[in-house]
Symmetry: C2
Subunit: 349 residues, 2 copies
């Protein structure tokens, strides 16, 4: 009997694989969160995450410069360390490159890797280098650590908790849209210089994302308790559903509280897209989504770059998106597969 | 200016990349050995290694069954943990699969992964699952630990040390030769059953290699000191040269002491290959190659599955292979590139 992978879908496959493995021993957290956690030095938890990036699926060299790909591989991988509320320490880069690559090209990728590792105060400790018949694949391993009491999983959200998000959302997704459109233009006009200056912020968000360890540090300084946390790589809706599913709770979230940059809003309309849809389903913003006990609302409100977008409720079936017009919609992750065709793949963790 | 990657070669590229990175802080070992090492729990060293496996480069589904690929990915990755004389603890598997894969196929790969993890008493803690346009790529991360005093690097070999190797060599390489030949036969005859029974041991060595943690345990039990260690993935000659290079020493090794299975010997002749060449340059045996202080010779001799094949000398330029007939040849790794075309890629670590 043969069943095509497409019939199961990516998350179906991950669920199937997860069930095949035993629960790890006490004190060790395996498959099912942004990263695995096991005992590290000095009573700290060691946090390990892996991320695979495939040419033609996760990046397109028609518009992604090599050094920014290097930067993004580090940032996207380490974002899963931030999503555990941990500090980054080490990075491993593996790559499979076809003969099409030049030495200078590899140097450029490494420029981006080195710049990102320096930015995150993280040491590159190794990796593997190999050939591939066509295209390229990069694989990052991020290792971090933190006190076990601070490490935050997806499963701890409780009824009444505030749902918080850092930064703003939908920008990376529209940056990708702009680049895809320019790629078509470039193809038709054989190299005309694209006029992208006015979209600079969106392109930056897509091409040069930043893992939000600054938010993690601020949460530590302000002694904010986080009951659940995830980074937004697939889209707010999809990633919030992971928290709800694993915490066995529901939510109310409000359109008028969603953080969106004015340029994201304007560009969404230019592409005939609903800005709220871009915020809900656009991926790759790498912002942090987390829940905080209601009594800490004033502490959270002191932090400038955090928005409270809703609240956790007890009923797992209650997953409501309240629109600005007073309407209600069920929160779904369905938008994702068809919406972000370039991202037909995602984290197991 | 553009320079093709082929001009630099794989080891040239790795050397180039290595120079680009700062030395990690005290107590941390990065690029340049079988694995990276940093502080773990209870004063132990944490050992981390990564390995990438690319379809068409490292494996061919024409003759590699899916469950054995899963087994091999775990074994080859963890072999680098054994090569640090450490114990395995955790494994992470990432995979990029094209639509050609079926759910049952992924299950089969996982059967092999699970069997190997169980065999090595290692927990699978996570990974990443994604799509790729064609072919497949697997990536393993192996994590182990050991007391810092036991962890053995490539750089510690000293003049007078005995050069030791576990098991026997060249078998996996000839197993690959047999499979490559059968693939041609199968192609010509449209599915005639291959008669491979008499090569079973060689096929097993190629398709189902075992990381030699049993040797590590025996060395611990017999309290044998190891001054340098590596696993033989590229071939005895190439991997011994890594030890010599990093320890800045030379060697004498002796043809008549090289461990070779009678079937390897016989099959080499059948393929018109020199058995010694297969032992020196055949890769993927995943045996351990290590050096031991001369005064521990009697301890080493008590261990049945270890052969002493030569001795370390002070002069780094003295790298002599003594043939059975009394001749001398310089030890080189040159055989490797042209010899093992299927393995045009290897470890960075």
């Amino acid at each position: 009997m043969t069943t095509p992978l497409s019939q199961l879908g990516e998350f179906g496959l991950i669920d199937r694989l997860r069930r095949r493995f035993d629960t790890p021993p006490e004190g060790i957290v395996g498959i099912g969160d942004d990263a695995a956690v096991f005992p590290g030095p000095d009573g700290r938890g060691e946090v390990v995450t892996t991320d695979m990036f495939v040419e033609g699926i996760h990046y397109d060299f028609a518009y992604v410069p090599l050094h920014l790909l290097g930067w993004k591989v580090v940032s996207a991988t380490l974002s899963d360390v931030a999503a555990m509320r941990a500090q980054p320490k080490f990075f491993f880069l593996s790559m499979a490159l076809s003969n099409r690559f030049t030495v200078e090209g590899v140097d450029a990728v490494y420029d981006g890797i080195a710049a990102a590792c320096q930015y995150y105060d993280t040491h590159l400790l190794g990796g593997d280098t190999t050939t591939i018949r066509s295209g390229s694949v990069f694989h990052g391993v991020g290792i971090g650590e933190e006190l076990p009491a601070r490490i935050t999983y997806r499963k701890g959200a409780r009824p009444g908790d505030l749902i918080c998000v850092s930064g703003n959302l939908g920008a990376a997704f529209l940056g990708l849209h702009v680049l895809e459109r320019e790629k078509e233009v470039l193809r038709d006009t054989h190299g005309a210089a694209p006029h992208l200056d006015k979209y600079r912020y969106l392109l930056e968000r897509y091409l040069r994302p930043v893992a939000r360890f600054d938010i993690v540090r601020t949460l530590n300084e302000e002694t904010v308790t986080t009951t659940a946390m995830i980074d937004i790589s697939d889209g707010l809706s999809s990633d919030l559903l992971h928290i709800l599913h694993q915490s066995q709770v529901g939510c109310d979230i409000y359109e008028d509280r969603l953080p969106i940059d004015p340029l994201t809003f304007k560009t969404a309309l230019e592409f005939n897209l609903s800005p709220a849809t871009c915020v809900l389903h656009g991926g790759e913003d790498y912002e942090l989504l987390f829940t905080v006990p209601a009594e800490q609302e004033s502490r959270v409100n002191r932090i400038p770059d955090i928005s409270v977008i809703g609240r956790i409720v007890a009923d797992p079936a209650h997953r409501i998106f309240h629109t600005t017009g007073g309407g209600k919609a069920a929160l779904t992750a369905q938008g994702w597969d068809s919406f972000l065709k370039k991202q037909a793949a995602s984290d197991t963790e």
